[in-house]
């Protein structure tokens, strides 16, 4: 054999062996992991502290419309589940802060009542990447009457490095954070429009 080719072959075999050694640690047996999505409540951010004239927002109890309330999806052969997601989602929603709105406990005293519905919450893989998605439907009530709805979608995609539980929980949390950013922006816009409308009518 040509020595150059022999050298190339041996390098190739060495690289392949290294890869096999690395990936032999991966367990191909399907596993089900229970993820812990709970995180400490976020501290108030003074930059978005509500002003005194803020809109009072009340959240109604969240409804879960997923086909199964424990499933969080699949990455390859592995399945991910989490029980009691709703308290975590509720906590995250109620912790949402904006410059023009603040939470109030009593819907009767609220300027805006929001009924959230959890539509989707899952992780999946696309080739070597993982993708997490959270979708909420928010129905707005003003003075007890429906005044529109908003589909709030959050998403995170990134390389699936280790397939670890922490990595998957982190991906879902990032997707939820993205969802909350969209939610905050939409609420702020909604409130500005309302202020403009009321100024015009005055």
């Amino acid at each position: 054999m040509n020595p150059a080719w022999a050298q190339r072959c041996s390098s190739w075999i060495l690289a392949a062996s290294c890869l096999m050694a690395i990936f032999s640690g991966c367990n191909n047996t399907p596993q089900t992991s229970q993820l812990d999505l709970t995180v400490p409540a976020s501290a108030d951010d003074p930059s978005t502290a509500p002003s005194e004239s803020s809109l009072r927002v009340a959240w109604l109890a969240i409804e879960d419309q997923r086909l199964d309330t424990t499933s969080l999806g699949h990455i390859g052969n592995d399945a991910y589940v989490a029980k009691s997601i709703l308290p975590w989602v509720n906590q995250q929603l109620r912790a949402t802060r904006g410059a023009n709105f603040a939470e109030t406990e009593d819907p009767a005293k609220a300027d805006l009542v929001i009924k959230p519905t959890l539509l989707k919450l899952y992780i999946q893989n696309i080739n070597v990447a993982k993708s997490a998605v959270v979708v909420l439907r928010l129905e707005f009530l003003r003075h007890g009457k429906p005044s529109g709805q908003f589909i709030c979608r959050g998403q995170y995609a990134g390389m699936n490095w280790w397939n670890s539980d922490e990595e998957m929980a982190g991906a879902i949390q990032k997707a939820f954070a993205d969802c909350l950013l969209n939610l905050t922006a939409s609420l702020e816009l909604n409130i500005k429009l309302q202020h403009m409308e009321s100024s015009a009518s005055n």
């Binding site: 499933s71 999946q124 696309i126 080739n127 979608r153 995609a157 390389m159």
Partner: protein
Amino acid sequence: MNPTPAQLVSRGRSFAILLALALTFLTGCVGPVRVPISSDSRTQLGKVKGIVGLQQQEIGTEINPSNVSAATGGGLIAGIIDMSIDDARAKKAEAAVKPVRDALIDYQPGNVLAADLQNALDDVPGASLSHTDVQQVIDPNTTAEWINGSGGTSVLLVTLGYKLSADFKSIIVSAEVSLHPAGGRLASVTQTKANLPPLVYYNMFSSFNILPGLAGAQSRDGLVTLWAADGGRQAKTVLNAGLQELADMIAYDLTAPSPPAGERYETPDGAEKHFGIAEYGATNVGFQGYIEHKADGRIWVRLPGGQLSSFPQ
């Protein structure tokens, strides 16, 4: 000395040829995927209920995997480059698909397929369904638990997948289907597949559907706009058609003939050969099959393993 571009291409070609040869050799050794059911067994199933299982919560995406490793003859660096390109492509696909997913937010493909199956199987002796449930596949044990917990009722399990193709021009719906006799029945003819309970029928199906009216080159964003327009009308129309076709293919396949046990599905004399790539969930299968059925501008292709895939004619 560094290889010239011509050497790299030549090396890539050699590697691809070797890989193709290895795959051809290996696929030739594998037995059929399909487990056919005899008419005798069908009539002994008793009451049959359908279960449509969904692993996903929304329409999936896929990417064309990077080929740097194959083109350069492999190696760790090339592998890392491939991974990084695939990661970037996946991120772009997931970001691009959002408007389609939003348009389909209230669309329930499981329910659509359940209704289609109920109708399509009405005319299949012994396999008409008493009712069909739609459930989420939670983990690898879920389906076995459903089947084992079905009491005296046989179960037709249909695990559904649906996704946009990598170029966003098509929607592919696919199903893995198995038929499980109620406890103890037909014990002498049952077989096993993966982690499923004993079964008397098994096959895989896919239906490949192109965006209607697609003409000329379109950007991915342009295609997304077309799929999602008017509350996702095109996406829903194509999904409905694909799911209806899946149900029809399943009904057809439950009575379709098969070669002698253990033999693969060779092209019969006079049948038209068809080459292509069939996709079942996350698995893509390059194949040479034959056309078994033609109607309404569609062809149903039987793969060597017995799987049935549908394409536009």
